[in-house]
Subunit: 326 residues, 2 copies
């Protein structure tokens, strides 16, 4: 047994609705995957039991259980240090859930747990655009909001309480739009899905000019991108406003952290042909002059649909195999 | 020799005008000090020769040369990694100056070199308010501008190019005041000495109300503080504006870095009775809600006149004694 090189890991993304798992090799290739409904399991123990069965099945139907090195799990409100999901707002299980320890005891493999922003950055570090970098920022522009994580000397910087990288709730406009967090002018109110729709509605309300956006059955960032593709001036203006604000926020972030690169990931990068040009322009105009042209804005090459399980699997490589016996 | 516990270091602050040196013990007590004019030495070698004589004299007249463990040097444009002053704008010596190696060879002690923001933060870590903290920010509100350094897991975070912590040139006002760096809205144009005087002049120009500030022979932050002490409404407004902008910038910084504390140092802290209340109010209003009441704004207790040499001496404790033989 000790002579077998364990070259595969399992990445698990525990979402509010769906839990995805994937068997992943050293290069980040997904060899096989599976999924289950998180909400079907009102108790954590029934969830861990069902998940363990799927893990064993996934391994046995492919390279075999003995080739699995370890498991990485991504979930909202995950605490990497304790291995617990802590008071997650929308999950079926309340309070502090020691998911890493429960899963480890159930399947007999070392398990690490991390939150979404943390594992997304690890995914870029292990398999993606940040490979070989020591200091970099990963920004997730997703449906829910804007997350980020930065690496310091090859390690994720977590801060004193695990809250580092909260760029979504930095103030970008004094007395700006009211945020769900109760304050005004947060970046999320301008550059998240919700913020982009607010910008689009404001621009439509403030102008009489015709726009394809006015006829959309549902206003979404992707649909606004399609309108811009067709030459719609107001839709292009939405991206201009979004890119300007996001570029300014990222320039300030970079001035603090001096990264080698900022890597953009998440659903909004699907409209990157419209988002990136004004974003880059605003970034260059606002960044500290010593950093200008010395760092890159990169759009992640990891497909959004694979991002979460791949990130979770990247976390699995960071856990020591012998942590099983601690 | 090997049995002697070397309990003292020498801290040296190389300024454009003056070079100060101090003999410092483990607790940060300055046991003796000396100073010389930097500009008296047009060549680096003559400077190192004269400085070495002063170092030996300082040691011999006190606890003796053999009790000195190592030397820390602070200077503008210092590169900690190479031990060189690199293209300092206002120093008498041009180009790349290997000051650490020259001084080490001259006096036979290990020498470390750091820049102002870096050693100021180290001073707080070793002797000051950050003692025992692992993740914290130190902000220098000095005459020249606004510097900062943050510690990550007990180490100064330098970034990929040594430029981390450049809060002075983060944008706090879209299309705001024109900065010396060529961009608009930089924090330095609002919360440095220069920025505060600009605010005072703008407020005086925009109003007809009487103000003690109008009769000042020279407008300085300290003088504006004295006007506020006497109940001057316009002078108080200057501090309100300054604190609001600085509080917003520090809240954004804290949201990225999640520190245990932000420590304020530099000449502007001499007016902290006027600066801190509006700063704290703006910080609390703007900081990410998970950080509110979980971190402290602290005014440094290290006197400004001792800050630079004490910071340099703190750097001396970080250098390995055997680095002399490398």
């Amino acid at each position: 047994m000790n002579n077998i090189i364990k070259q595969q890991v399992i990445g698990i993304d525990v979402g509010v609705e769906k839990t995805s798992l994937a068997l992943v090799d050293l290069r980040g290739t997904i060899l096989a995957q599976d999924a289950m409904n998180t909400k079907d399991y009102p108790s954590v123990s029934s969830f861990v039991e069902a998940l363990s069965e799927r893990i064993i099945q996934l391994a046995e139907q492919n390279s075999g259980y003995e080739s699995i090195r370890s498991i990485g799990v991504s979930s909202p409100s995950a605490n990497y240090v304790t291995g617990c999901i802590e008071n997650a707002a929308n999950m079926p299980w309340k309070g502090v859930v020691p998911l890493a320890a429960m899963l480890r005891d159930s399947v007999g493999l070392a398990v690490a747990l991390g939150n979404d922003a943390h594992v997304t950055a690890l995914g870029e570090y292990v398999y993606g655009s940040a490979h070989g970098m020591e200091n970099f920022i990963v920004i997730s522009l997703g449906h829910g909001g804007i997350g980020s994580c930065f690496f310091s000397n090859g390690m994720p910087y977590l801060g004193s309480g695990g809250f580092a990288g909260e760029i979504g709730h930095t103030c970008v406009e004094e007395n700006g739009r009211l945020c769900t967090c109760g304050r005004r002018g947060c970046l999320e109110e301008y550059a998240s899905d919700r913020g982009i729709l607010l910008t689009a509605r404001q621009l439509m309300d403030a102008s009489d000019s015709p726009s394809l956006m006015r006829d959309l059955p549902e206003l979404t960032p992707l649909a606004i991108g399609h309108c811009a593709d067709q030459g719609d001036a107001l839709a292009k203006e939405v991206w201009h406003v979004t890119g300007e604000v996001l570029g300014r926020a990222l320039a300030n972030y970079a001035s603090m952290v001096n990264p080698e690169a900022i890597i953009l990931t998440g659903e909004l990068t699907e409209v990157c042909q419209w988002l990136i040009p004004p974003l880059q322009e605003s970034f260059d105009a606002n960044v500290f002059h010593n950093l200008r042209n010395r760092m890159k804005l990169i759009v992640s090459t990891i497909p959004n649909r694979e991002r979460d399980v791949l990130g979770a699997s990247a976390l699995a490589w960071t856990v020591k195999e012998y942590s099983l016996f601690l």
